[in-house]
Symmetry: C2
Subunit: 140 residues, 2 copies
């Protein structure tokens, strides 16, 4: 489901903008670290935030990620948008955050920095469609 | 409505992630250049894109912008999220794009690069609430 070029954008260490839907139908956005498991996008959340409640009620999400590239055809910045469905499960957040911290902060870092962190939540996003500007929209 | 610290993020030359609502209630995201007019955020769009149709039907939007700063308290990346209502008007896009191109591409650039561009659309976002991580969420 997720082209290789899009996978590279997901694992590049750039922040993901996660758009979810509020109970009143309006958009909610937070930024998050993202990882990849096969073709799925993973996000770890420590406290029970609004985005978790939103995704449990309405699993439809959009994830957008910038890149450092410019599109040769248009000269515009390359960026990825992934549309998909989120499944939230309890537990596993500290382990995933530790793994992502090596990409987002640096090698050897301890994250979360404190001992005995709460189990938190892991969100798995099943990709349904990709958009934005980049090789993934040209089927590459 | 928009704190000075948030205004600086809007005019920093970083791309804005614009989340709108599709007819079926799911989120739609595109990236855009943004400008400021008083406390309002401005976006120029050339063709009649899906985001324009979305905002004309449901004006509730979220705009998220990364910064190059880290929050001293948490060590996490500073980012701005603006929630507001969009008003779309026809015309004025080439003039606004030319103005924004000086920030997003560089001084002296001609944008749109072709002659006689279509009038397009200008979207004005009235800010209702700010979020994210940064001085604007601490009332600074």
């Amino acid at each position: 489901m997720l082209p290789e070029s899009a996978k590279a954008a997901v694992t590049s260490g750039r922040l993901a903008h996660l758009a979810t839907i509020n109970p009143d139908g309006s958009p909610h956005v937070t930024l998050a670290w993202v990882g990849l498991d096969g073709d799925d996008i993973l996000i770890a959340t420590m406290p029970d935030q609004r985005k978790i409640r939103n995704m449990r009620r309405d699993p439809r999400v959009a994830v957008s990620i910038e890149t450092n590239d410019r599109d040769p055809a248009s000269g515009l910045d390359v960026y990825l948008v992934v549309y998909g469905r989120a499944t939230v499960t309890e537990g596993g957040a500290p382990e995933l955050l530790q793994q992502l911290a090596y990409t987002y902060i640096g090698p050897g870092v301890k994250f979360p920095p404190w001992d005995d962190p709460p189990p938190g939540f892991v969100t798995r996003i099943t990709v349904e469609r990709v958009g934005g500007i980049g090789p993934w929209t040209r089927g590459e």
